[in-house]
Symmetry: C2
Subunit: 615 residues, 2 copies
Amino acid sequence: MAAAPGSVTDVWSSLMRESDGGRLRVAIGQIPVAVGAIGRNAERIAEVMAWAEHCGADVLVLPELALTGYPVADLVLHREFVAEAEEAAAGLAEIAGETTTVVGTVTRVPARRSWDSVERDVSISAVVLNRGEVRGAYHKILLPTYGAFDEGRNIAPGGQADALWAIGDVVAGISICEDLWSGDGPPEAQARAGAQILLAPNASPYHRTKRAGRERHTAQLARRNGVPLVYANLVGGQDDIVFDGSSLVIGADGTLLYRAPAFREDRAVLDVALPAPRVLTTRPTTVHAVPRPRRPPADAPRPHDAAGELEEIWGALCTGTRDFVEKNGFRRVILGLSGGMDAAFTAALAAEALGPDAVLGVAMPGPDTDPDELDAARDVAEALGIGFAVVPLEPLVSASASVLASATAVHGPWTTEALDAPAHPAQLRPGVLTTMSAAHGLLLLATTNKTELSIGAAIPHTDTVGGFAPLRDCPKTLLYRLAAHPHVGPGRIPRHVLEKRTSAQERFGEGFPSYEVLDVIVQRYVQYGEGVEDLAARGYDVDVVLDVLARIDAAESVRRQAPLGVTISPRAFGTDRRMPVTNAWRPTRRRDSGRVDPAHARFPLGPETAADPDR
Amino acid sequence: MAAAPGSVTDVWSSLMRESDGGRLRVAIGQIPVAVGAIGRNAERIAEVMAWAEHCGADVLVLPELALTGYPVADLVLHREFVAEAEEAAAGLAEIAGETTTVVGTVTRVPARRSWDSVERDVSISAVVLNRGEVRGAYHKILLPTYGAFDEGRNIAPGGQADALWAIGDVVAGISICEDLWSGDGPPEAQARAGAQILLAPNASPYHRTKRAGRERHTAQLARRNGVPLVYANLVGGQDDIVFDGSSLVIGADGTLLYRAPAFREDRAVLDVALPAPRVLTTRPTTVHAVPRPRRPPADAPRPHDAAGELEEIWGALCTGTRDFVEKNGFRRVILGLSGGMDAAFTAALAAEALGPDAVLGVAMPGPDTDPDELDAARDVAEALGIGFAVVPLEPLVSASASVLASATAVHGPWTTEALDAPAHPAQLRPGVLTTMSAAHGLLLLATTNKTELSIGAAIPHTDTVGGFAPLRDCPKTLLYRLAAHPHVGPGRIPRHVLEKRTSAQERFGEGFPSYEVLDVIVQRYVQYGEGVEDLAARGYDVDVVLDVLARIDAAESVRRQAPLGVTISPRAFGTDRRMPVTNAWRPTRRRDSGRVDPAHARFPLGPETAADPDR
């Protein structure tokens, strides 16, 4: 186990290292950037570079694709996009001083063919800037193409795993994100070749167990290779992923030297003890040849505490929602406020993310709406301090019933009676909300949750209508847990709203299991690829399992058109789990399949999650 | 150039070959399958196997993933899915007789790591079945990961490019789809190793220039390697792609020996002349050792004529629409019939694909609707013979205006006046259609077209609401061309509807260029990655170009939630072109960028398209 910072082991280990290779002053910039905003991102990077220079840092490490934003997807197919990024990197080099800056961007590289017949010529790179020059670039070798990641689509893999960089009298290796995770990849090649420290730009999205897995893995990596690791991560939301930051500096013995906070910008500078110089088996690229200045040690910053699971989730939801709204040019949001828990929760989240004045809740009581529900909606709005409007739906329901009844039909099989369709208030509410959102430039938040989206219980074009669905990856049982937490989550929502629960049977129908069972089945099937027999072996009723699994697969079309939301699980529907809409396959009970140990399920969740089979 | 079948060159070449390696009786099964319908697909394959056996075929070639459907996406992450496919392949082997069947499916293979840190253990394979046994499997090596293709995500690459198969006294190579396209891949390795014929299962989706490129490339490939090629393709729609079939048999000299029809099932058997046996540099897997029977030559089937461009597009639209509707369990569709061209076109397409009785057009005249439009909608419905209903919208518009006006607001910045939102008929129509579609189990067809989706001119949650948008990839100018064609396209739609055109300015606003200009800018930017300078060099006004390109990028959120449609272009929005929704990048005029020759644009459209730069 890594020793706690400040412990005797830590101090001893630091002293021991001090006498080996000296100390390198390392700065880390955990910055939020926006995809495509190359100019604004460059300004932010320049500002951090000036700060690092001011701190006398030898090296500044910034995240993967900090200059372009992550992911770039098909943007790199536009020549101008890559050219702009290259010019911006050259511009940053011009202002680079004595601090060596390692910053992620895309670069044009010689075209090469890899896993298919197409040549690719854009690399995800870390450019190395010093004293007015781009001194070189490391090109990412391992290109994640699973889960939320698509890098194999457009990116050419780098070819030199053991590239080294001479920064004054220190030899460093650079690895980018996925490069760190194979167990025998670029970091290992660089350490064997003589690196004394590993500099690692990352764009590692949050999910519920990510941070702990990342800290365990990076500590092992540093210890195994006997080199310190500087792990700089992005922070902030981008479409349906959210980067938590939680950047790290790990000592050569695996000690956690620094942990940045989650979900906020951070910068830190610290002196990192280096192992003694090693025999070099690769010729390093010289970044500069100026020895480190003699100076007193910098004060070591204290690692930020790791937040608890629910605090982290709440942070992810707020950050992802705020960044989606703001980065898409909206200042205010609108949502339907039913008086139920999901809507109240969404409103609370929006109020925390954007401020209560930026949120308008609209209650649309229909002819059959219980007056208590309208009261509950009002109580929620008042407690949160958000805007609140009441739009009585009755006239619209009557008019809808009347126009549907007046439908006159012609031609063969379509008689007038066959056209008879009852007017549903649920199907009229979206029209009110989209009209108001369009008239006032408000982003419409959908209030659906993951349990509903899993089984397709939401009526199409009702609860899923909107521009963003913050709770899209939150199962109902998680919302209950968050609601019960004293310090996070819905906060000021009146208890009587949070505690008024509708069972899954009331919501979806008699045949359904409880939310508790439903959510576990969804998680086991979607996240770990468990099958009918596996779930049966866990004690679930086979008929219930078959029914739920069939519903999950049949609901793909509903999910495909639902808005993006904040991903908090290792395999969210959508980006992480890509299924055909047109899909006849339904799991069946099979005689010969044994129970799958989830730790060994062949489900490439990525290495970070594989270490955490129980989430 | 390949000689026309039946020409002197063809006959001479066949005679010459006859004396070399004799003739192999080859059967080809161009079959429609459904993703996930392993059992039904297996039944269809078994039926074709019985036919091929009856024909005395030495070899039957079936398409890529014929057993599972293509694409399998994340379905292969479910262990049961792969196990079911393997069992089904074993079941087909049991019925295999003297004909050797080569059929595409997925197989479990030893786990291997490739381009990232994740191990993959599922292969896209061609299993070789003969006399009751699976005699082996070829594992696809090149895994397309661009455009509509995602194979790098879940599939492990095969490792043996020069695998050979001894089928009696004939040595064959097997390559799967992308394997054929690198110019120095498995076909070349197999021919060098001694293959006398190449058997190629394919899942090659249609786009406008695909067939011609495919025929040119396969003829070159056969001639270059001196071996005949049997190219079996899937047929039918799957989500937003549609396989055209158009399977091929090419002689060793590049002669087209057989062309299957586009967009319908087909089977053919023919005797193919083989080159003389070659020196083997790889040891072939023995499929069987029984010499070919002596028998009179089979009658050569006549190649089907290639359809013209517009006929092919119409075939793709009908096939894609019919298969999406039917494979998703619907029998009937509903759409809004405005009296305009897009709606009329969608109705005509649905009537052709599903039969007129399966289509209900709903006119929803609002208070300001021109009576001529209602008449036009009625004329369209009558001409097509589809169901038609009129739902007068006025009561709904009044009620909507009244409920929106009655919205009462509380809290700070949200005054009642600030909530004032005009009721738009366009925003009320979707609610009527979704209510009717839900009540009667009708799939709602959206009538939007590619031009609208490109620039985001469709009002969100109006024209894009639905379960399928058949014209999603059809630019307005293409609809004009189809409408003018005497034998395809909207057919019976009254001329006065087709000829009543609204200009782009009338539709979108004064600042817009004509549809002709708009569609070219969209195509050049999206399809070829041309930039501002390139378009300026083509003579387009820079300010217009900048405005249109910015609109294209800003409309990603509209497209993301729009329904799937039929892909007919080499780079349709959505599957083929994946862009972040949250994206600050907008093309700008750059001083230093030269004009890009589109033939050399670094846009990996895939090899088939690269040969056709002008589409």
